[in-house]
Symmetry: C2
Subunit: 456 residues, 2 copies
């Protein structure tokens, strides 16, 4: 584990006291992935100073590890000639990502400066939606035809892969019109007799992606089949590019972040996920308000339920003090249920066909924990308020409330899923509000039925 703050401090000392040559040497001693972490901590002017000292290959390598904002910032601050050279050194998908994050006139300037073939390919990538396979794939793929021998392919790789800076996991077999016919793993290639033809060793039942497949589908396919790369084809089965496991790692992290954000009612549909944490504050407010507003409406229902029982409250105001206790615990255990189901549906551990089983199971768990906590609450209230009847009512309300919370928390995601709505969407806030409403109704009904009739 390297200590970033220490390194940053050392770099600052070198910038203050020593020569650029020494700074360059120091920078060269780190892996570019570490350099990216270091750049994150430097001030913009320090960052630029360091970046200018890197040679073009290092700078291009580093690019791929930087955040989009920092890529655009650094390229914008160095001279355009240099920036174009760095972009040309990037894999096509990385170049498209960088240019896609710029303002359009800015990216056009660069595209005009790049070699024709490169800029054409990058322009094509930019036409795809960035959340689809077309927007994620790298179009530079090593292809061979099926009549070549293993030896031919090895020779071909020696020439092509070096020149085009290609990622190598599989070799794809295509016909003259670039239709995808088969795939050969490097391993198969290296362990097959050199005079065999590609046709003899290729696999033709190919798992492949379509340019319009969305990122959640891509993740599922990678997780399921566990290949290190998958080919991407168009409608006519023409090979357009490939997606590698490291692209999927990034997608997976983004998807997970969205899933987690949505569970607490932060909407990632209208506002880009990065902006919510550190971008424009109005955008952040826009992402957070919708579900809070729905909570507000829901809680007004809860207020109305409580208001409906205002004679009960007037008769016995003490009962109000237990409202947060009931709502809090119901909300928590219900959130646990919903979290388990939403996550299970997302990983595939839970399916719609097991919905009934899970509802029964969760109901039992809710009843067990609810009864235990109900007894604790009864005893505590009895000991503290010396009012056994109130204690029993609060305890029963607690048990019912926690049981219902698990049932609602289990039922809701299954109901959403079967309506083809993503169950992750704001399940958390909705469930807490629903439990507030139902829980209060139960509690006040119990109180007015069993306590107030006695009091009057």
């Amino acid at each position: 584990m390297i200590n970033i703050p220490n390194i940053v401090e050392r770099l600052r000392e070198i910038m203050d006291d020593e020569t650029l040559t020494q700074l360059k040497e120091e920078l060269g001693s780190y892996h570019v992935a570490d350099l990216a972490d270091i750049f994150q901590e430097l001030k913009p002017d320090e960052r630029l100073k360091c970046f200018k000292l890197l040679d073009i290959d290092e700078a291009a390598d580093l690019m791929e590890y930087l955040t989009p904002q920092m890529q655009v910032e650094l390229l914008g601050d160095i001279d355009e000639e240099m920036a174009s050279k760095i972009i040309t050194k990037l894999p096509h998908d990385a170049a498209a990502d960088v240019l896609g994050d710029m303002e359009e006139d800015e990216s056009e300037t660069y595209l005009d400066k790049l070699p024709q073939k490169f800029s054409d390919e990058v322009r094509e990538l930019l036409t795809y939606n960035e959340d689809t396979a077309g927007g994620i794939m790298n179009p530079t793929v090593l292809t061979v035809n099926s009549e070549m021998t293993v030896q031919d392919v090895l020779n071909h790789i020696r020439i092509k892969a070096e020149k085009d800076n290609m990622e190598l996991y599989y070799v794809y077999v295509v016909d003259k019109q670039n239709h995808l016919l088969g795939v050969v793993s490097l391993r198969k290639l290296l362990t097959s007799p050199i005079n065999k033809t590609v046709e003899e060793i290729m696999i033709s039942d190919i798992v492949k992606l379509h340019v319009d497949d969305y990122s959640d589908y891509i993740i599922d396919e990678f997780m399921k089949y566990q290949y290190s790369a998958l080919p991407v084809v168009d409608l006519y089965n023409r090979l357009k590019g490939m997606i590698t496991w490291d692209d999927v790692h990034d997608l997976f992290e983004e998807e997970t972040t969205e899933e987690i954000y949505q569970s607490s009612g932060i909407s990632t549909e209208v506002v880009d996920e990065d902006e919510i944490l550190s971008g424009n504050i109005l955008q952040a407010i826009r992402a957070r308000t919708p579900w809070l507003f729905i909570t507000l409406l829901g809680e007004f229902v809860a207020v109305n339920v409580a208001h409906h029982f205002d004679h009960t409250l007037n008769a016995l105001p003490i009962i109000a003090i237990f409202m947060p206790l009931l709502a809090g615990l119901g909300g928590n255990i219900g959130t646990q249920s919903i979290t388990l189901m939403v996550r299970g549906l997302s990983t595939g551990q839970v399916t719609l066909s097991s919905a009934f089983h899970h509802m029964i199971r969760e109901m039992f768990i809710g009843f067990a924990i609810g009864s235990l906590f109900g007894i604790l609450v009864t005893l505590a209230t009895w000991g503290w308020q010396h009012n056994i009847e109130l204690g029993i009512i609060v305890g029963i309300a607690m048990a019912i409330n926690m049981t219902m919370a698990t049932v609602i928390g289990t039922f809701t995601p299954f109901a959403l899923k079967s309506l083809n709505i993503d169950p992750a969407v704001a399940s958390g806030p909705v469930i807490a509000t629903t439990i507030d409403v139902v829980g209060l109704a139960v509690y006040f009904t119990l109180v007015s039925t069993f306590l107030i009739s006695k009091v009057f």
Copy 2:
């Protein structure tokens, strides 16, 4: 996308009406990853019937895609001879996983039946903690020495990789005592002149893992450096195995599940994550109770705060009906803040050094949304209860409550992190309770100061 329910139905029809040969043929037409999904939906006896029809290589391939429970179930139901043959076909790490999930006497029976060298290596793997690099790695690694030429290495791969069923991403360079000296990527190997020596093309600044590194560190290293495999060494830098990106995918999914579970107060430390969703119900209760119990204690504090103001409640019982509204919205916006910070700390987008910035930012967001909602609540209460004073008090309480909730929700994870406590641990329930307590105190204080004094 294949339609699993349809396939399951077709398989059942074949089992009922047709021959085993036809069933075997049908099974052979699916990718093993799809077969694993299909097996998940079959009944145990159907599953066993299908499994017995697979040849040994297919069965071994399938094993790696099945859940641990199903692996143990199927191996236990076929004859031991066959089971041993299947286990011997597995990569060492997969074999160790299967055997590690069995009862000890059962796994010993199999280990005794396996070839000596294989069982020795698997036994060594079983000595490592399953959450560390030693327990995750595959010990079968292709090694070469630094004097070999590229041609030698290619010949070596041709013999070794086929025989030992090796995963191939990198070739590791070791000395006679197996100390790790360098690494050569397959790509470098395939694009270098064949008479160069390994020493000339290898990289010797190696990113490597130690056998005792824990899974969260392993994930971080893979996410950061984006290599498709990393070597694992012992204390003396001797190469013990390697971990590949697909192992990390599984780890990543597990870690994410734990992070999500913990955020809703489900403890994954005492109970294995799989058991919480579908295992022993007592274990599930054990995982869910601790943080609920802490919530219970916290809510008793809230009850006490409310009780402290019982004269206020007695004087003006109507104020009680707004309690769920305030607690619900405070809890929700506070949970949003905590979710953003916990996730940001986990992905590295948020660091301790930016804590102050985020607190100010979140406080501003809380104040903005809180003021907006405060005004809405004031207007709604005014229109509905025709009581502008009560409306204003509830509105102000709402604004204060939501602002405080964002501050508490931002502060808590930073405080935990700086005390070296994982901020993901049950932040959710704790925050909701804290906001209940503080929010009630603010609300009742406002009411008793500004409203009650007027009423009397």
